[in-house]
């Protein structure tokens, strides 16, 4: 039985210090201990992407990360991208374009595409499909998700819709 460690990292822009077991899954840490339930467990084995969060700007599967790995990192969850009062363009466009049906895959999708747009502000449809190819959606058939990401990219470039 491992001893607790104290982790210090940045979470959604704020410093966090938390005591936990080093082998705790990051997904469980976020959901159960920190109340950030946007990251979801769809499979627990890296096959669905619903648990994705940004770690130092890179979208990673929190179901395949252990708490100890977070030390000193910058973590951004879907909740950190934006809120109802102040949503991220991706979140706005997902909602506006019908890209959200049941919504369970949506947080993971926004995390994966936030990373895409940070490195490729002008993607085409194929690049968007590639970027979300690790995020399963069973409701939408992906079309409107691609539409939404392209619209968000446009908004973020300051262009007219």
């Amino acid at each position: 039985m491992s001893k607790n460690i104290t982790l210090a990292f940045t979470l959604n822009g704020e410093p966090v210090s938390i005591e936990t077991r080093p082998g705790r899954r990051v997904l469980d840490l976020l959901r159960d201990d920190l109340g950030l339930t946007a990251a979801k467990e769809g499979c627990g084995s890296g096959e669905c992407g619903a648990c994705a969060v940004l770690v130092d700007g890179t979208a990673r599967l929190s179901c395949l990360m252990l708490a100890a790995q977070l030390e000193g990192r910058e973590v951004i969850t879907a909740e950190g991208l934006g809120t109802v009062e102040n949503p991220h363009p991706l979140q706005v466009e997902f909602a506006a374009h019908g890209a959200v049906q049941c919504g369970y895959c949506t947080p993971g999708m926004t995390v994966a595409t936030a990373e895409l747009l940070a490195r490729a502000p002008c993607p085409d449809r194929d690049e968007v499909r590639e970027a979300i190819s690790g995020n399963l959606c069973r409701c939408t058939g992906y079309v409107k998700i691609v539409d939404a990401v392209l619209a968000a990219a446009k908004a973020m470039r300051g262009e007219e819709p």
């Binding site: 039985m1 491992s2 994705a52 990673r60 395949l64 100890a68 970027a131 190819s133």
Partner: protein
């Protein structure tokens, strides 16, 4: 959840952990899935060890740190421009999220016959640099992997880097992965080819590595030799394909039958001279 997890910042901090029986973890995309039911008691995570990262050119080799993620390798010009056969495989490995975490070292040590980077590395005549408290040694990748999940790592050793002799710039590099779907798919058959031709288009040297059709990646020597001295055309590739079929040892499994794998493995050679699949 009860695992003790250590993240040493250098190799010196790693060796004592290995001596105490820690299990090594790079990206975690294999280990944490395979060992979900019960994690090892102590895990040594390599992701903070800077000397295990980095991509550079060294004495005519491309040196790739074993813990460089697939995604970062894909972005590196040396990999993209000089090792397209590997880049192509990296691009279709897993998913973008998996590629952000998985590593070459991990893919090698997991040693699945279906590991996407392996056939390209075999076709590139890759070597692995192994490090331990006692120092480093280099061995050919072909031979280092002995079977599914089995490598010739000594206790206390890790894979530190992968070294690939710089291919001749004019060499044709080709890769194709056959999976049941276009992302998040385990390879059912894969072909990695590095073929050097002279100015008349006659094959000087061909290297053909087939994945997912044996207990390890297979370099099909008979097929390679059949191409030497010939032009790359439908006829020569059909003959090479027939040779490939004789040399591989595929199995039936849930994803595909041995017969299908054998059939397709030979077929894939034909696409070497066509446009991208």
């Amino acid at each position: 959840m009860n695992a003790d997890v250590r993240c040493p910042h250098d190799l010196a901090g790693l060796w004592p952990l290995l001596e105490d029986g820690a299990v090594v973890m790079a990206g975690g995309t294999d280990l944490l899935v395979r060992r979900r039911g019960e994690l090892p008691t102590v895990i040594a995570c390599l992701e903070r060890i800077v000397s295990l990262r980095g991509v550079g050119e060294e004495d005519g080799f491309v040196r790739m740190g074993a813990c460089e993620t697939h995604a970062r390798l894909l972005l590196h010009p040396l990999v993209r421009d000089c090792l397209p056969v590997l880049a192509r495989a990296l691009a279709v490995l897993g998913s973008p999220l998996i590629r952000n975490m998985g590593t070459l070292g991990g893919n090698i040590v997991t040693a699945s016959p279906a590991g996407d980077t392996l056939a390209p590395l075999y076709a590139l005549d890759a070597q692995v640099e192994l490090a331990s408290r006692l120092g480093t040694r280099r061995v050919s990748l072909d031979g280092f992997i002995a079977g599914p999940g089995i490598t010739r790592l000594d206790p206390g050793e890790i894979v530190a880097a992968v070294l690939v002799p710089l291919p001749a710039p004019e060499a044709r590099q080709h890769f194709e992965k056959v999976g049941r779907r276009k992302a998040l798919a385990i390879s059912v058959v894969s072909l990695a080819a590095v073929i050097r031709t002279d100015r008349e288009g006659v094959v000087a040297e061909a290297r053909l590595a087939l994945g997912s059709v044996g207990s390890t990646v297979i370099r099909c020597k008979e097929a390679e030799e059949s191409l030497a001295g010939r032009h790359l055309d439908r006829e020569s590739l059909l003959a090479a394909g027939a040779a490939v079929r004789r040399e591989i040892a595929p199995l039936d499994d849930l994803r595909a039958s041995a017969a299908y794998r054998r059939d397709v493995a030979g077929n894939l050679l034909l696409r070497i001279i066509a446009a991208t699949p």
